[in-house]
Subunit: 249 residues, 2 copies
DNA sequence: AACCATTCAGGTACCATGTACGCAAATGAG
DNA sequence: CTCATTTGCGTACATGGTACCTGAATGGTT
């Protein structure tokens, strides 16, 4: 008799070993417990700190024990992504007002993206399709369903929204994360690291429009949440315009 | 007398040591040469294969020699990004037809993104602002300048385009890269890795709209380039709609 | 021409990481 | 009680970034 054999397949097809009634020692941990520890470490010290040894240490066990629950480290990333996405709270089904549904979704994704600064980077780095992600995606698709649109068009519009939300969050986190990674405090980093360079670029006069976008920006002084809202409204406007123009076909 | 001291600052503020006329051995390599080797390796075997040792080996030298030219490995990533972006060919200034200018830009970015499958992942993982990236960005901003729009609005629209282009390229590459990373050939991988899972999700009936987006997709059968064009036209439509609505304010 | 401060090349070494392997401990069926 | 089975996890190895150090090359100065 051979064991599971760990085929190179998606982790979503390799369910956790569930309760059985045969012989053998009982598992002392669980995927969820391990994933939760990994998320906690990644939140506090960055995703690069969530090493197998560190996670195991947090659980009071040895590194190799984790491999009884997770095939590879990369699969743990998928689990982390899905655990984070599971925090998103949405009504069971869309309300019928697609604009407010999508705005709600965007706010939720932003909240979870800020709570777990590693999430968006991981999510957009690897193509994963965990159950929680599917649930959220399904809600988004549902919000635009019933408007007389093609499923391809619906999916395209949802992608458009996601693209904005993800990159807006990235912009909001970007510098903060980079500062943490280099170990400097954010304020100092902005002044000493990115600041002088941008200032030099502006002073050089070689990129006048980029310079204006830095110098003359009105939205730069807004609170982050306001800026997010502002861009979101724009994207929803664009979606609204496309909804009417696509429906007319 | 002390040397450059390698402050933790942006690599764009630490120019390469240029030709001087003092004493001391002449440098045998250059940043560009090293970056070019790194790009070549990353193109052929993935970015994770572009290790310091491997790059040095390619140049016929030792790993530590590279540190005379590049402060840290991460900075090499910034250099790689900018070298790739420098391949983008654009007219000196926008033509006045913003739609064709942005379409040209999108096609160029797609081409370079496919040629260097690691580019988009790196680009969207770290906030970098090399000269070539600035040049491309400036062109994009310029395409929308002079239409009576706010600089913030222009930047927002450019971001919107970039978001689409990047995520479309990621979708186009995603599976291929993942397949290469796990060492399987792409066809087999699609059938054995992602295929069964998606099939199971569809069969479960739990996510009907997602299932339809997989099953009933018409664009899935298009050539990749056609799909990219299709989505791009949609984004440009959205930008057009926003241009008129924002101008009216 | 001889010397020397300066700079580069790169070997050695250290530490951290993912993970293959193997063995001992735990567990319940017979 | 015995034993097949499963978990816990220490050990070990390959590979990675990079600090440090020695020796070689170089051109100005004496």
């Amino acid at each position: 008799m051979r064991m599971a054999d760990e085929q190179p397949t998606s982790i979503w097809l390799q369910p956790e070993r569930q309760e059985r009634s045969g012989p053998g020692r009982r598992p002392g941990y669980s995927r969820e417990q391990i994933t939760r520890a990994a998320v906690q470490i990644a939140d506090a010290e960055g995703v690069e700190a969530a090493t197998m040894r560190r996670i195991a240490c947090e659980l009071g066990t040895g590194a190799m024990s984790l491999y009884r629950y997770v095939p590879r480290r990369d699969d743990l990333f998928d689990l982390m992504i899905d655990l984070a996405m599971s925090e998103i709270e949405l009504p069971g089904s869309p309300s019928g007002d697609w604009r407010s549904d999508l705005a709600l979704l965007a706010d939720q994704v932003r909240a979870v993206g800020l709570r777990h600064p590693w999430l968006i980077t991981l999510l957009t780095s690897r193509p994963t399709l965990g159950p929680s992600l599917l649930r959220v995606h399904e809600f988004a698709l549902g919000a635009l369903d019933g408007l007389g649109l093609d499923i391809d068009d619906i999916a395209g519009l949802v992608d458009m929204l996601n693209d904005y939300v993800h990159s807006a969050i990235r912009r909001e986190i970007g510098w903060l994360e980079e500062a943490r990674r280099t170990g400097l405090d954010p304020e100092r980093w902005k002044r000493d690291y990115i600041g002088p360079y941008v200032r030099e670029v502006v002073a050089s006069g070689a990129f006048p429009l980029f310079s204006r976008s830095v110098t003359d920006s009105r939205t730069a002084h807004l609170a982050p949440e306001e800026r997010f809202r502002h861009g979101l409204d724009r994207i929803l406007d664009a979606i609204a315009a496309l909804v009417t123009s696509l429906r007319r076909r």
